[in-house]
C-alpha cells in the first residue's frame, strides 16, 4: 500500500512536468539543435571552402624559376605544392598593383622579401579572408618551398638527401596490464568524451535539483503540503518527489538520445544520398559519405570515437546515484526555507563538491590518469562527475562498480537524513531557517 502511495506521488510529479508544452518543446528542440549543429559543421566545412587562386610574389626569386618553354615563373620544388581541391598557386617576381592582380582573377596575394628566410614572416593580402583551412595550406606549402630553398642553398645537402634524412617520430600507443599488451591511445580524446558526459550530468543534477527545490517551496507556500503529509509520510513524499522528478530527467535524457539518433540517421541518409554535395563538388569528384566527412573534422571525429553504449549505461547508473543524493539534499533545503531565493543561497555549499568535481574534470582532459581523479572518483559527492571521465578513459570495472555502490549507500543515508529534516521543515512556516536549524532537524530536535 505504501509503495502504491509513493507510486502515486511519482506519477503526479512525472505527469505534471512531462505532459506540458514547454517540456515537449525543450525535448524536441534540443536534439534537433544538436544534430543541426553537427550538420552545420559538416556543411560549413564542405560548403564554405571556396576556390582560391594565390599569387605568390617571390621578389628575391627564392622559390621560383622561369620555365624556359612557357616563359612563366614556376616553383623550383613542384612537389612542395601538391594538388589541392580548392587551392591554386601562381607565381610572379614583380610587385603588382592590387587592382591588377585582382583583375587577373587572383583572390590572395602572398608577399615576402629576402629576409623571409631569417624572420620567417610574410604578408597575406586579400579582399575576402580565405579562411583558416586555406591559410594553413598556403603556409604549409610555402614553408616547404622555403625549406627546399634553404636546403638547396647549402653546399652539404641536396633536397633528396635532406628528405631522406628528415625524421618524424610517431609513437603508437600500447597499453600493458603487466603481461599482455593491448591497443591503447586516444586517452585525451576519450577524456574529453568523458568530460562531455560528466558536464551533461553536472548540468542535469543542478537543473533538476533546482526544480526539486522549487517544487518543495511551492508546495509549502501554496499550503498543499499539510494535506499531503496527512496521507503520505513526509519521507515517502520526499522520496516520491525525488524519484518522480528523476524520471522526468530520465525521460528527457532518453528522449534526447532517441531523437538525436533518429535525427542523425535522417541527416546521414539525406547527406549520403548526395543532395548536399550537389553544387559543392567539381566535375568528376566523388562525394564522400557522412562518416568520412565527419572523421576529417577535428570535432565531429570525436563524436565518432565515443563508445555510446558503455557511456550510456554508466551515465544512467551514476545519474541515478548522484541524482538521489543531490536531489535529497535539494529537497531538504527546499523544506527548510520560505522562498526559492533563500533556498538558492543555501544550496551553494551543497553544490560546491559538484562544482569542484566539474572544474577538476576539466583539467582531467589534459591528464585523465592523474592520481587526484582516482580519489575523487571514489568520493560519493564527486563520483557522479569524475567517475564518468575515468569510465571513458578505461577505469577497471570493479572500481566503477564499487564507486557506484558507495554512491548508492551514501544516497540512501542522505535520503533518510533529508526525510527527517523534511518532516520538520515542511511544516515550519516561521521566519527562522538556515543550516543550524536544518542540522537540529536532522538530529530530530526542534519544532
Amino acid at each position: 500500500m505504501r509503495g502504491s502511495l509513493i507510486g502515486t506521488v511519482i506519477l503526479r510529479e512525472w505527469r505534471t512536468r512531462v505532459i506540458k508544452r514547454s517540456f515537449l518543446l525543450g525535448t524536441l528542440l534540443l536534439p534537433l539543435l544538436g544534430v543541426g549543429f553537427v550538420a552545420a559543421m559538416v556543411l560549413l566545412t564542405k560548403g564554405t571552402e571556396s576556390h582560391h587562386t594565390v599569387l605568390v610574389e617571390d621578389g628575391p626569386g627564392l622559390i621560383t624559376r622561369i620555365d624556359p618553354v612557357t616563359g612563366q615563373y614556376v616553383p623550383r620544388c613542384p612537389g612542395c605544392f601538391p594538388e589541392r581541391e580548392h587551392l591554386e598557386f601562381r607565381f610572379t617576381r614583380e610587385a603588382p598593383e592590387d587592382s591588377v592582380w585582382l583583375a587577373e582573377g587572383h583572390t590572395v596575394l602572398v608577399e615576402f622579401d629576402e629576409s623571409v628566410l631569417q624572420n620567417q614572416a610574410g604578408y597575406l593580402v586579400y579582399v575576402k579572408s580565405p579562411g583558416m583551412q586555406a591559410k594553413r595550406n598556403i603556409e604549409r606549402d610555402l614553408s616547404k618551398a622555403m625549406e627546399h630553398a634553404r636546403v638547396m642553398g647549402s653546399t652539404e645537402l641536396d633536397w633528396a638527401a635532406y628528405q631522406r634524412l628528415k625524421f618524424d617520430l610517431n609513437l603508437v600507443n600500447r597499453e600493458s596490464n603487466g603481461g599482455e599488451r593491448s591497443k591503447g591511445g586516444g586517452e585525451e580524446v576519450r577524456g574529453l568524451v568523458g568530460f562531455m558526459f560528466s558536464a551533461l550530468l553536472f548540468l542535469v543534477l543542478v537543473v533538476y535539483g533546482g526544480l526539486i527545490l522549487r517544487s518543495v517551496v511551492e508546495e509549502k507556500s501554496s499550503r498543499v503540503v499539510e494535506v499531503l503529509i496527512a496521507a503520505v509520510r513526509p519521507e515517502e513524499l520526499l522520496l516520491g518527489k525525488v524519484i518522480g522528478m528523476g524520471f522526468v530527467a530520465l525521460t528527457q535524457l532518453i528522449s534526447w538520445s532517441l531523437l538525436s539518433t533518429v535525427a542523425f540517421s535522417v541527416f546521414r541518409l539525406v547527406y549520403d544520398s548526395g543532395q548536399f554535395s550537389e553544387g559543392m563538388l567539381g566535375q568528376g569528384e566523388v562525394p564522400a559519405d557522412l562518416m568520412t566527412v565527419m572523421a576529417g573534422n577535428d570535432f565531429t571525429a570525436i563524436l565518432l570515437d565515443i563508445d555510446w553504449g558503455l557511456m550510456g549505461v554508466s551515465t544512467v547508473a551514476f545519474f541515478i546515484g548522484g541524482y538521489l543524493l543531490y536531489g535529497s539534499l535539494y529537497a531538504m533545503v527546499g523544506g527548510s526555507v520560505q522562498s526559492e531565493q533563500e533556498g538558492q543561497g543555501m544550496v551553494v555549499p551543497i553544490i560546491m563538491p559538484l562544482m569542484f568535481a566539474y572544474l577538476i574534470g576539466g583539467g582531467a582532459m589534459e591528464n585523465p590518469e592523474m592520481g587526484a581523479l582516482v580519489g575523487l572518483s571514489w568520493f560519493p559527492l564527486t563520483a557522479p562527475v569524475i567517475m564518468l571521465i575515468r569510465v571513458a578513459v578505461g577505469a577497471p570495472i570493479w572500481e566503477v562498480i564499487l564507486s557506484w555502490v558507495l554512491l548508492m549507500l551514501t544516497a540512501r543515508l542522505i535520503l533518510a537524513l533529508a526525510g527527517r529534516a523534511y518532516r520538520h521543515g515542511v511544516l515550519n512556516d516561521g521566519s527562522r531557517s538556515g543550516w543550524r536549524l536544518l542540522l537540529q532537524w536532522i538530529k530530530g530536535h526542534g519544532r
Binding site: 500500500m1 502511495l5 502515486t8 506521488v9 503526479r12 505534471t16 511551492e218 508546495e219 501554496s222 499550503r223 498543499v224 499539510e226 494535506v227 499531503l228 503529509i229 496527512a230 496521507a231 503520505v232 509520510r233 511544516l427 512556516d429 519544532r447
Partner: protein
C-alpha cells in the same frame, strides 16, 4: 457504541511550552464535535497529533476503537486551516490525485468526484486550472477532496473561512448530511454561529487544557443564569406593576414585530412560574415566555476568562 476518536491525556511540549497538557475527549460515531479555543490554545497541534503530523510526547489516541495507526489516519478526511491546491494542475486531475492518495482507484475516484462536483456545483470546472478559479471555488474543491473517499471521521479546521454566506450555508448543510449518514466530525472553528447550528458536543481548549466539554445543549442549559424573556402586547407600566416583587426586571425593549414588547426578567423563586404568568396575563397579552440561555460565544468567553485566571501563563 464505538467511539470514532478517543483521546486520553494527550501531551505535547515545544521546549518549555506545554502546548497540549493532558487533553482527553471522545468523538462518538455520527456526532459533530466542535473543537473551540482562542488562538494558541493548542487546537492545531491537537489535530496535527491526530493526523500523525506531530508526534505527541504522551497520552493515547484511538481511532474507531483501535490504537492509532498510519493506515487508519489515511482514512480520515482532513481539511487543514492552512490549505491549498497546486496552482498549475487542473481541478479534476488534482482532485483525483488527492483521492488516489486516500486509497481510491482512479475510476472509483472519478465517479465519486463527478457526483460531488455536481452536488456542490463545481462541475464545469473539472478541466480548468486552479489558477483560473475563484478562491471560493477552490475552497469547495478542497472540501470535496476531504470527503470524497467517504471517510468515517472528518476533521475540519475552519471549514467556512473564505466562503460567502450562501456557500457557507451549503457547506453547513453538507456537513449535517454527512453526520446524519454516520460520519463523525471534529470541527475546529472560531465561528460560534456554525458551532450552534452544527455541533452536538463541544470541547473548549485553553492553554493546552480542556476547560469545558460536553453536549452543546447541556452546556447552555447548565450555563443558564435564570433569565427569561416575556414577549407581550400591552402597557409597560401595567406589566411592571403586575410583576411586582415576583421577579427582577432587567429591561423592556421594543420587539421587531409591530406592537409587541420584550421584557427580560429573572424570577426570584424559579418554581413560581405559574403565579407570575397569571399575574401579568391579567393585564397584558403574553405572546411568548422563554428561557434566555447563554450563547456559545458567551459560554466560550466566560470559560476562557475563568480558565485564564486559573491556569498560570507559561510564557
Amino acid at each position: 457504541m464505538v467511539k470514532a476518536l478517543s483521546i486520553e491525556h494527550l501531551r505535547k511540549s515545544f521546549g518549555s511550552l506545554h502546548v497540549l497538557d493532558g487533553v482527553s475527549f471522545d468523538v462518538q460515531a455520527g456526532s459533530i464535535v466542535g473543537l473551540l479555543g482562542p488562538n494558541g490554545a493548542g487546537k492545531s497541534t491537537l489535530i496535527r497529533s491526530i493526523m500523525g503530523i506531530v508526534e505527541p510526547d504522551g497520552g493515547t489516541i484511538a481511532l474507531n476503537g483501535q490504537p492509532w495507526n498510519r493506515e487508519a489516519v489515511r482514512g480520515i478526511g482532513y481539511l487543514p486551516e492552512e490549505r491549498g491546491l497546486y496552482r498549475d494542475m487542473k481541478v479534476g486531475e488534482q482532485a483525483v490525485y488527492f483521492a488516489r492518495l486516500k486509497g481510491m482507484g482512479r475510476k472509483e475516484a472519478i465517479d465519486a468526484l463527478r457526483i460531488w462536483f455536481d452536488r456542490l456545483e463545481v462541475d464545469g470546472w473539472w478541466d480548468k486550472k486552479v489558477s483560473d478559479i475563484s478562491k471560493g471555488m477552490a475552497q469547495k474543491v478542497q472540501f470535496i477532496c476531504t470527503v470524497v473517499h467517504n471517510p468515517p471521521l472528518v476533521i475540519l479546521d475552519e471549514p467556512l473561512s473564505g466562503f460567502d454566506p450562501i456557500n457557507a450555508r451549503r457547506i453547513v448543510d453538507t456537513v449535517r448530511q454527512l453526520a446524519s449518514s454516520g460520519t463523525s466530525i471534529l470541527l475546529s472553528t472560531h465561528d460560534m454561529q456554525s458551532v450552534e447550528r452544527l455541533c452536538d458536543e463541544v470541547v473548549l481548549l485553553n492553554r493546552g487544557k480542556v476547560v469545558l466539554s460536553g453536549e452543546a445543549d447541556a452546556l447552555r442549559e447548565s450555563g443558564w443564569s435564570g433569565q427569561q424573556e416575556v414577549v407581550f402586547k400591552g402597557n409597560d407600566l401595567a406589566f411592571t406593576n403586575a410583576m411586582g416583587a415576583m421577579a427582577e426586571l432587567s429591561g423592556i425593549t421594543e420587539d421587531s414585530a409591530p406592537g409587541l414588547r420584550r421584557a427580560r426578567i429573572k424570577l426570584r423563586q424559579p418554581d413560581r412560574t405559574g403565579d407570575f404568568l397569571t399575574a401579568v396575563g391579567a393585564v397584558v397579552e403574553v405572546v411568548e415566555f422563554v428561557k434566555v440561555r447563554p450563547t456559545m460565544e458567551s459560554l466560550f468567553i466566560g470559560a476562557v476568562e475563568q480558565s485564564t485566571a486559573e491556569i498560570p501563563s507559561e510564557t
